[in-house]
Protein backbone atom coordinates (compact mmCIF):
# COMPACT_ATOMS: atom_id res chain seq x y z
CA UNK A 1 0.00 0.00 0.00
CA UNK A 2 1.07 3.53 -0.67
CA UNK A 3 0.08 4.87 2.70
CA UNK A 4 2.18 7.85 3.81
CA UNK A 5 4.50 7.56 0.86
CA UNK A 6 4.30 10.85 -0.89
CA UNK A 7 6.18 11.90 -3.94
CA UNK A 8 6.39 10.79 -7.50
CA UNK A 9 8.82 8.23 -8.85
CA UNK A 10 8.97 9.61 -12.36
CA UNK A 11 9.94 6.20 -13.68
CA UNK A 12 13.45 6.55 -12.34
CA UNK A 13 15.55 4.71 -9.87
CA UNK A 14 16.15 6.35 -6.55
CA UNK A 15 19.67 7.43 -7.40
CA UNK A 16 18.62 8.72 -10.79
CA UNK A 17 15.78 10.70 -9.27
CA UNK A 18 17.95 12.15 -6.53
CA UNK A 19 20.62 13.18 -8.98
CA UNK A 20 18.07 14.76 -11.27
CA UNK A 21 16.48 16.85 -8.57
CA UNK A 22 19.87 17.95 -7.33
CA UNK A 23 20.69 19.14 -10.81
CA UNK A 24 17.36 20.87 -11.16
CA UNK A 25 17.69 22.57 -7.78
CA UNK A 26 21.10 23.87 -8.78
CA UNK A 27 19.70 25.15 -12.04
CA UNK A 28 16.75 26.84 -10.40
CA UNK A 29 18.88 28.56 -7.79
CA UNK A 30 21.34 29.64 -10.45
CA UNK A 31 18.93 30.97 -13.03
CA UNK A 32 15.95 31.68 -10.75
CA UNK A 33 13.59 30.50 -13.47
CA UNK A 34 13.70 27.27 -15.41
CA UNK A 35 11.49 25.53 -17.88
CA UNK A 36 10.60 21.93 -17.22
CA UNK A 37 7.68 19.56 -17.21
CA UNK A 38 4.74 20.04 -14.93
CA UNK A 39 5.34 16.95 -12.84
CA UNK A 40 9.03 17.53 -12.34
CA UNK A 41 8.35 21.10 -11.32
CA UNK A 42 5.83 20.00 -8.73
CA UNK A 43 8.38 17.67 -7.22
CA UNK A 44 11.15 20.20 -7.45
CA UNK A 45 9.20 22.53 -5.17
CA UNK A 46 9.79 20.13 -2.30
CA UNK A 47 13.52 20.25 -2.80
CA UNK A 48 13.94 23.96 -3.35
CA UNK A 49 11.55 25.13 -0.69
CA UNK A 50 13.46 23.07 1.85
CA UNK A 51 16.72 24.60 0.67
CA UNK A 52 15.37 28.09 1.16
CA UNK A 53 14.11 27.13 4.58
CA UNK A 54 17.65 26.05 5.36
CA UNK A 55 18.89 29.38 4.12
CA UNK A 56 16.51 31.15 6.48
CA UNK A 57 17.87 29.14 9.39
CA UNK A 58 21.32 30.33 8.38
CA UNK A 59 23.63 28.42 10.68
CA UNK A 60 26.56 26.18 10.04
CA UNK A 61 24.58 22.97 10.18
CA UNK A 62 22.06 24.35 7.72
CA UNK A 63 24.86 25.28 5.36
CA UNK A 64 26.26 21.79 5.50
CA UNK A 65 22.85 20.30 4.88
CA UNK A 66 22.39 22.56 1.88
CA UNK A 67 25.80 21.56 0.62
CA UNK A 68 24.67 17.96 0.65
CA UNK A 69 22.14 18.86 -2.01
CA UNK A 70 23.93 21.54 -3.94
CA UNK A 71 27.46 20.19 -3.79
CA UNK A 72 28.89 23.60 -4.56
CA UNK A 73 30.15 26.00 -1.96
CA UNK A 74 29.65 29.04 -4.14
CA UNK A 75 26.05 28.11 -4.76
CA UNK A 76 25.50 27.49 -1.06
CA UNK A 77 26.93 30.90 -0.36
CA UNK A 78 24.68 32.48 -2.94
CA UNK A 79 21.68 30.67 -1.50
CA UNK A 80 22.40 31.81 2.03
CA UNK A 81 23.61 35.33 1.32
CA UNK A 82 21.52 36.42 -1.65
CA UNK A 83 18.47 34.26 -2.10
CA UNK A 84 17.61 33.46 1.48
CA UNK A 85 17.41 37.03 2.79
CA UNK A 86 14.86 37.90 0.12
CA UNK A 87 12.46 35.49 1.74
CA UNK A 88 13.09 36.57 5.31
CA UNK A 89 9.97 36.33 7.39
CA UNK A 90 8.34 34.07 4.87
CA UNK A 91 6.26 31.05 5.66
CA UNK A 92 6.75 29.28 2.38
CA UNK A 93 5.60 30.09 -1.10
CA UNK A 94 9.15 30.48 -2.31
CA UNK A 95 8.50 29.05 -5.73
CA UNK A 96 5.89 29.64 -8.36
CA UNK A 97 4.81 27.42 -11.23
CA UNK A 98 3.35 28.94 -14.37
CA UNK A 99 1.90 26.64 -16.95
CA UNK A 100 2.84 27.14 -20.55
CA UNK A 101 0.47 26.79 -23.43
CA UNK A 102 2.54 24.63 -25.69
CA UNK A 103 3.33 21.08 -24.65
CA UNK A 104 6.74 19.66 -25.38
CA UNK A 105 7.38 18.59 -28.91
CA UNK A 106 7.95 14.88 -29.03
CA UNK A 107 6.02 13.56 -26.08
CA UNK A 108 3.44 16.30 -25.58
CA UNK A 109 4.43 16.66 -21.94
CA UNK A 110 2.84 19.70 -20.31
CA UNK A 111 5.55 22.26 -19.74
CA UNK A 112 5.80 24.90 -17.05
CA UNK A 113 8.11 27.57 -15.86
CA UNK A 114 9.13 27.25 -12.23
CA UNK A 115 10.64 30.32 -10.69
CA UNK A 116 11.56 31.84 -7.39
CA UNK A 117 8.84 34.21 -6.29
CA UNK A 118 11.38 36.83 -5.32
CA UNK A 119 14.07 37.32 -7.89
CA UNK A 120 17.17 39.41 -7.93
CA UNK A 121 15.70 41.55 -10.67
CA UNK A 122 12.64 42.67 -8.73
CA UNK A 123 14.05 42.86 -5.25
CA UNK A 124 14.54 46.39 -3.98
CA UNK A 125 17.99 45.62 -2.63
CA UNK A 126 20.00 45.60 -5.88
CA UNK A 127 18.45 48.87 -7.01
CA UNK A 128 19.43 50.41 -3.73
CA UNK A 129 22.97 49.24 -4.19
CA UNK A 130 23.35 50.66 -7.65
CA UNK A 131 21.71 53.86 -6.62
CA UNK A 132 24.04 54.19 -3.69
CA UNK A 133 26.92 53.78 -6.04
CA UNK A 134 25.52 56.54 -8.20
CA UNK A 135 24.85 59.24 -5.65
CA UNK A 136 25.55 58.24 -2.13
CA UNK A 137 26.01 61.48 -0.27
CA UNK A 138 22.90 63.16 -1.55
CA UNK A 139 20.56 60.57 -0.16
CA UNK A 140 22.28 59.01 2.76
CA UNK A 141 22.80 62.18 4.78
CA UNK A 142 19.11 63.02 5.29
CA UNK A 143 17.94 59.84 6.91
CA UNK A 144 14.33 60.94 6.94
CA UNK A 145 13.35 58.85 3.98
CA UNK A 146 10.61 56.34 4.05
CA UNK A 147 10.71 53.89 1.20
CA UNK A 148 9.89 56.12 -1.69
CA UNK A 149 9.24 54.42 -4.95
CA UNK A 150 8.21 56.98 -7.46
CA UNK A 151 8.17 56.08 -11.09
CA UNK A 152 11.51 54.51 -11.52
CA UNK A 153 13.32 56.22 -14.35
CA UNK A 154 14.26 52.87 -15.73
CA UNK A 155 12.12 51.06 -18.23
CA UNK A 156 9.86 49.22 -15.88
CA UNK A 157 6.67 49.50 -17.80
CA UNK A 158 4.94 46.35 -16.53
CA UNK A 159 5.82 47.17 -12.98
CA UNK A 160 4.39 50.63 -12.99
CA UNK A 161 0.79 49.82 -12.40
CA UNK A 162 1.43 47.30 -9.70
CA UNK A 163 4.65 48.27 -8.02
CA UNK A 164 3.53 51.46 -6.30
CA UNK A 165 1.45 49.51 -3.86
CA UNK A 166 0.71 50.26 -0.22
CA UNK A 167 4.00 51.62 1.00
CA UNK A 168 3.86 54.78 -1.00
CA UNK A 169 5.40 58.02 0.15
CA UNK A 170 6.20 60.43 -2.62
CA UNK A 171 9.01 62.57 -1.37
CA UNK A 172 10.42 65.70 -2.91
CA UNK A 173 13.08 63.96 -4.94
CA UNK A 174 11.24 62.43 -7.78
CA UNK A 175 13.54 59.59 -8.74
CA UNK A 176 14.36 58.83 -5.14
CA UNK A 177 14.22 55.14 -4.92
CA UNK A 178 15.40 53.99 -1.60
CA UNK A 179 13.86 50.91 -0.18
CA UNK A 180 15.96 49.51 2.61
CA UNK A 181 15.26 45.90 3.18
CA UNK A 182 14.89 46.25 6.89
CA UNK A 183 12.26 48.97 6.64
CA UNK A 184 10.31 48.18 3.57
CA UNK A 185 7.61 45.58 3.76
CA UNK A 186 8.20 42.85 1.29
CA UNK A 187 7.38 43.85 -2.21
CA UNK A 188 4.73 41.70 -3.74
CA UNK A 189 4.70 43.30 -7.13
CA UNK A 190 7.14 41.75 -9.53
CA UNK A 191 9.11 44.07 -11.71
CA UNK A 192 10.34 43.33 -15.15
CA UNK A 193 11.76 39.96 -15.98
CA UNK A 194 15.01 39.12 -17.61
CA UNK A 195 15.20 36.56 -20.28
CA UNK A 196 14.18 33.27 -18.78
CA UNK A 197 16.85 30.69 -18.84
CA UNK A 198 15.96 27.45 -20.40
CA UNK A 199 16.10 24.06 -18.92
CA UNK A 200 14.60 21.00 -20.56
Amino acid sequence: MRHRKSGRKLNRSNSHRTAMFKNMARALLTYEQIRTTDVKAKELRRVVDKLITLALRNDLHARRQAYKVLGNHQLVQRLFDEIGPRFAGGQGGYTRIIKLSQPRTGDCAPMVIIELTKKASDAPAPEKVEEKAADTAAKEAPAKKAPAKKAAPKAEAPAEETAPAPEEAPVEEAPAEEAPVEEAPVEEAPAEEPDPKKEA
Binding site: R35, S101, Q102, E161, D195
Partner: protein
Protein backbone atom coordinates in the same frame (compact mmCIF):
# COMPACT_ATOMS: atom_id res chain seq x y z
CA UNK B 1 -19.61 -17.44 -30.12
CA UNK B 2 -21.59 -14.28 -30.46
CA UNK B 3 -21.90 -13.29 -34.06
CA UNK B 4 -23.81 -10.30 -35.48
CA UNK B 5 -27.01 -11.42 -37.07
CA UNK B 6 -27.40 -8.40 -39.28
CA UNK B 7 -25.03 -6.14 -41.03
CA UNK B 8 -24.84 -2.68 -39.33
CA UNK B 9 -26.52 -0.19 -41.57
CA UNK B 10 -24.99 3.15 -42.47
CA UNK B 11 -27.68 4.82 -40.42
CA UNK B 12 -26.96 2.68 -37.35
CA UNK B 13 -23.27 3.30 -37.71
CA UNK B 14 -23.86 7.03 -37.96
CA UNK B 15 -26.10 7.03 -34.92
CA UNK B 16 -23.49 5.16 -32.91
CA UNK B 17 -20.79 7.55 -33.93
CA UNK B 18 -22.86 10.66 -33.32
CA UNK B 19 -21.23 11.03 -29.90
CA UNK B 20 -17.71 10.44 -31.14
CA UNK B 21 -16.18 13.86 -31.21
CA UNK B 22 -13.13 15.59 -29.89
CA UNK B 23 -13.74 17.80 -26.89
CA UNK B 24 -13.58 21.48 -27.68
CA UNK B 25 -11.03 23.13 -25.40
CA UNK B 26 -12.10 26.02 -23.28
CA UNK B 27 -10.65 29.22 -24.58
CA UNK B 28 -9.94 32.49 -22.89
CA UNK B 29 -8.76 35.58 -24.69
CA UNK B 30 -5.46 37.13 -23.74
CA UNK B 31 -5.05 40.88 -23.47
CA UNK B 32 -3.22 40.69 -26.77
CA UNK B 33 -6.38 39.29 -28.30
CA UNK B 34 -5.16 35.80 -28.98
CA UNK B 35 -7.19 32.80 -27.89
CA UNK B 36 -5.46 30.81 -25.22
CA UNK B 37 -6.00 27.97 -22.82
CA UNK B 38 -7.04 29.08 -19.34
CA UNK B 39 -4.53 29.20 -16.49
CA UNK B 40 -1.61 29.23 -18.87
CA UNK B 41 0.82 31.80 -20.08
CA UNK B 42 -0.15 33.14 -23.47
CA UNK B 43 1.51 31.23 -26.26
CA UNK B 44 1.84 34.34 -28.39
CA UNK B 45 2.89 37.17 -26.11
CA UNK B 46 4.00 35.19 -23.06
CA UNK B 47 1.92 37.14 -20.57
CA UNK B 48 0.22 35.64 -17.59
CA UNK B 49 -1.78 37.59 -15.05
CA UNK B 50 -0.62 40.86 -16.46
CA UNK B 51 3.09 40.27 -16.41
CA UNK B 52 5.61 39.04 -18.90
CA UNK B 53 6.37 35.50 -17.86
CA UNK B 54 8.16 34.11 -20.84
CA UNK B 55 9.75 35.66 -23.85
CA UNK B 56 10.71 34.50 -27.26
CA UNK B 57 10.42 30.88 -28.19
CA UNK B 58 9.83 29.82 -24.61
CA UNK B 59 6.19 30.70 -24.84
Amino acid sequence: MAVPKKRTSRSRKGMRRSHDHVAVPNVVYCECGEPNLPHRACSVCGNYKGRQVVSGDDA
